[in-house]
């Protein structure tokens, strides 16, 4: 899946303690959430989005400590 913010491949970022997460522009949110829902991935989305310099607002999809970054990345790659 293409990251509309960078025009590169949408990559799952991760933190050892916080777990994996995705920063995405909100126009991509529905498509990504639909793919995650199809695979029954647990996640939550920040309750707001931030726009810098009038660029499309960006929000964060969080997967928590139990999130599996490799599995999520595979789902995104397959959906793209």
């Amino acid at each position: 899946m293409i990251d509309e913010m960078t025009q590169g491949v949408l990559k799952v970022a991760t933190d050892e303690v916080a777990g994996p997460y995705l920063m995405v522009v909100i126009t991509q949110l529905d498509e990504i959430c639909a793919a995650l829902d199809r695979h029954k991935i647990r996640y939550w989305v920040d309750s707001d989005a931030i726009s810098i310099n009038n660029e499309p607002p960006v929000t964060v999809i969080n997967f928590g400590r139990a999130g599996d970054p490799a599995k999520i990345q595979a789902i995104l790659d397959e959906a793209g």
Binding site: M5, A18, M23, I52, V60, N62, R65
Partner: protein, 265 residues
């Protein structure tokens, strides 16, 4: 101030604290997310360490923000919510006991000035703790604070049980209580077991447990929002009911409360 005014002031103060805790959480997260986005874009965030004169390094910054916002910030806010809950319930009990100190001992009969049975008193106080106090109000005040301190070490179900046997609020309801018990269990787990779920959590949380043993307690934003909403609803309902009770004559004590001992404590 009247009992009703005292109750209303405590409820307002509690609602204000909830609003402030929410604003703290949401504004901190938004500020961190803004910095995270700048770091993702490779834009300098412009923070200079005045000692080293160096700009804040953006390496690792992005993922650190994820931890700050979804772990440390949510847990800090959650702990504050648990403090607000405790101070609300114990504050309510304190205000009630100041107005009706005879409720310190449910076996005391105000009509006769005697206890109804001869079993052990509900509260036993060493004489040394009373001798330096000069009058009855000070003694009662000391007893009330001792009772509040004692309750603060007990589980929330004991708080609500204590309240119910005195004020008969009928609030929070059973479903709300279960969620509040889980909140307190999660807080204790974070505080005393580094967030790793143990048997204590499972026992305290009961049917509302969200995790099983050896999992890690996660305070995510949807849960935090649900906790805010629950506390607002519970505080509001309890305050309204308490104000209603405080406006009328003191409610009669419940008759079926066990025999002697500390069933109501």
């Amino acid at each position: 101030m009247s009992l009703r005014d005292d109750l209303r002031a405590l409820a307002d103060q509690t609602q204000d604290r909830l609003s402030e805790a929410w604003a703290f959480y949401i504004h901190c997260r938004q500020a961190w997310r803004l910095l995270q986005q700048l770091a993702r874009k490779g834009q300098p965030v412009g923070i200079v360490d005045l000692t080293t004169k160096r700009h804040l390094l953006q390496d690792e910054f992005e993922s650190r923000v994820q931890k700050y916002t979804t772990v440390q910030l949510t847990e800090t806010t959650f702990r504050e919510l648990c403090r607000i809950l405790e101070e609300w319930v114990l504050g309510l009990i304190r205000i009630w006991l100041i107005a009706y100190p005879e409720d310190l001992d449910l076996e005391f009969d105000p009509a006769t000035g005697q206890r109804r049975n001869r079993e052990r008193d509900e509260i036993q106080v060493p004489l040394s703790r009373l001798l330096h106090l000069r009058d009855c109000d000070m003694i009662l005040g000391g007893l009330i604070e001792a009772k509040i301190r004692d309750l603060s070490y007990q589980r929330p179900e004991k708080w609500f049980q204590y309240l119910e046997t005195r004020m008969q609020l009928g609030s929070p309801d059973l479903a709300q209580r279960a969620k509040l018990h889980e909140m307190k269990a999660a807080r204790d787990c974070l505080e005393h077991n580094r967030g790793v779920v143990n048997r204590d959590y499972v026992n305290k949380a009961g049917a509302a447990a969200r995790f099983t043993e050896s999992q890690h307690v996660q305070i995510d934003e949807p849960y935090l929002i649900a906790c805010f909403s629950l506390l607002r609803d519970v505080t509001d309902a309890m305050a309204n009911k308490a104000a209603q009770i405080a406006s009328g004559p003191k409610p009669p004590r419940k008759k079926n409360r066990g025999r002697g001992k500390s069933t109501a404590s």
